[in-house]
Subunit: 307 residues, 3 copies
């Protein structure tokens, strides 16, 4: 080892001692990002059998294949869940039994998740004129991936498991650009078209048959602070969206007390921080634009070029 | 196998029987997501030789390397195309001859795609002050990847092939955040800067020398429904953008009858649902903002802080 | 080889001769995208020891592990840096000594980068009510990855190295949707929540304790052209953001002379092209929306539904 390498290493080792909080040295093992990503892929295969394999699955082999996959997922997840439980318990001893029980309880809920995902595929088919078949939606619509992973992560979130649910939805966020917190409660027949830039916060409550377009934010307004000036954690911060609402691209809806009433439509780029009653259409007023011909270089009067 | 695993498997198998539409069991094989991703990577290597390999390619080895790659792509794609054709024909027998013919016809068009991509690289260089060399653009600009894949997917889309063109553009969407439907018709010298959040719909027609920034939507307005309340599929829903138009970040342009006339400029965050004539500048009016000093806590009068 | 393959190959080889500028044949080797991606992963492991491995690192093994990793990164990066230097020097001979020196100088700065990243993790914890632990932030917040890579790429950018810094930040952009140019100068305690769609331009100067939300653009306004109509490269084009500023989702701030004064707050979807003084609150005026009940089909008067 030449002296330069040795100097670099020494500086890094010093830094590991001095700069705390971003090292994980002599601690319990944390869940592995890579393992969580692989578990997400395996869960998607269990949820949509025959779609994400090399080919269709024959009914004669489905029992064997499913058994093998379930065994695989249990093996992988129980390690990661045990790490997450030890982290929660601040290194409280062996968590492998508790982890196995939590993983099994979680997997028993996959059929219920599948029932919801079936309605999400239907909603995509009915909601997008470009969608030609269910198969196209499952193979090529990023929202299916993001919603499926959020629905499974939500089960683990409800069990109080730290770290892993959020790592799962971030795995999907990285692949799809759709950022749904595992805490959000989402009804059936949920569709997000295109999806990039969608943000759905932790305390959102979304009804059934809701349709969002890309860039929609269901976010927080501002954060109350405690006496020490620290942000208060754990209160309702994000909107409610009732059944049959459609929200067009890049609309921003903020606040924990904001409710979008059933059957309402929110137009593209709208910006809302208070509730609207059921059956409401909210659209940006014709936006004031300067419209000017570039050829005669005379500023025209303002024109309304929007809705 | 312990009883818990066996119970989980039984519940899943029951679910596979009960919840239809999201299983691919005893069906024809569908195209593989993984294989389509690998084919996209191989096509990019054929389109930009020497850029995406471990190193430059010597002219003495280029013939051999290209032959090997073309043979590879044919082998991979003909399997996937055959699956897609069988799916289209509803399991209509052996499609391997038709698939091979379609793949070869497709590959014969790569030189034409390369001619277009050369103009796209030029447009990026001329359009972005941060771009220092062609090499930087090909190695580090996500738009090149998204546009190259859309241009090849568009060839297969025009051949009427289902599933695969959309899977290709979704592969690029996942990597770049740029969502261009394979159906969109796009002229030469096309540049998208940054790119995240761009959505270009299926029936868009885009001229030459068009420049878009991130977050631009060329989308649909609303969807006519038939007598049964189902969305009508297959009509013109997305805008036309004529030659030499520039559209700044987060502008939203909607509707199949909306045309942005040649040489026009659309400002950041603009929102348009009707046509503008050639040589027009559309910019958001100075937006009304509340501007208030936080220090004296007196609300100031409104100020116009925009353009 | 059948005649179809041979025809496709011939057409491609002809195209490689005819269409220049997008081939890298008989040139110097360019940096490899794949190698740069792997180097980014290794650098993240050095920056956050024990977080991105399969498990925590014991203090007894940390010296050995760090040495091995540093040696690895040097080996990988010196090849790529040498390619980049040869490209810069237009094939100017052997650059391996210069490359090794640059890589070592770069790695000696990692402790300083770690000091900054520690403040970024703190800022995320203090800025997001959903964040429960530092560990969750390092494992699941995309901004950490994007900012860490930008901070290391910025070191190489300052050394005048072409191609690689931009390839690094594009690697992070592809994974996170956060596009920060390696040239941007960013102070301590920097936090980006959610992140998708954020664009930070090359000549931005950002103070300390700045917090951005997804979709925020710190971009250029327009580009002066020279006498030949070519864009002038290398001038200050992007905004300054002073200390303690918060910018909410989808706000767009443009122009090299635009400065957001210290302690100011910029509201969601705001659009600014001129400076605001310190301690200013800029929020979209209550936006004019058409609000109409869908049930009685009578257009209501306009309502202000915004802030």
């Amino acid at each position: 080892m030449d002296c330069e390498v040795s100097e670099i290493v020494d500086r890094l080792l010093d830094s590991y001692k001095e700069v705390g909080g971003i090292n994980n040295i002599d601690c319990s093992n944390l869940p592995s990002k890579q393992a969580i990503g692989l578990a997400c892929e395996e869960l998607l295969q269990l949820l949509f059998p025959g779609f994400l394999d090399e080919g269709a699955v024959a009914s004669t082999e489905i029992a064997l294949k499913t058994t093998s996959r379930v065994a695989h997922v249990i093996t992988r997840l129980k390690i990661e869940v045990a790490r997450s439980l030890r982290f929660k318990a601040k290194n409280g001893g062996d968590q492998s039994e508790a982890a196995r029980a939590m993983v099994c309880a979680f997997l028993r809920q996959l059929p219920e998740v599948r029932r919801l995902l079936r309605t999400d595929v239907e909603a995509a088919y009915e909601g997008d004129p470009a969608a030609q078949t269910f198969e196209e939606i499952i193979l090529a619509y990023p929202c299916l991936e993001a919603i499926a992973i959020q629905r499974v992560a939500h089960v683990l979130y409800n069990d109080g498991l730290p770290l892993i649910p959020r790592m799962m939805t971030e795995w999907a966020h990285g692949k799809t650009g759709i950022d749904i917190h595992p805490g959000a409660r989402i009804g059936s027949h949920f569709f997000i078209d295109h999806g990039t830039g969608v943000v759905i916060g932790e305390t959102c409550v979304i009804g059934s048959r809701v349709k969002l377009y890309h860039g929609v934010t269901l976010g927080a307004r501002s954060f109350p602070k405690d006496n020490e000036g620290k942000i208060v954690k754990g209160i309702k911060r994000h909107p409610n969206v009732e059944d049959n609402v459609t929200i067009y691209p890049n609309a921003t809806i903020l606040g924990g007390e904001t409710t979008i009433g059933a059957r309402s439509t929110i137009g593209a780029s709208a910006f809302l921080m208070k509730s609207v009653p059921p059956d409401t259409l909210v659209a940006l007023e014709e936006v004031e634009h300067k419209v000017r011909s570039k050829t005669n270089h005379q500023p025209s009067t303002n024109d309304k070029t929007g809705a």
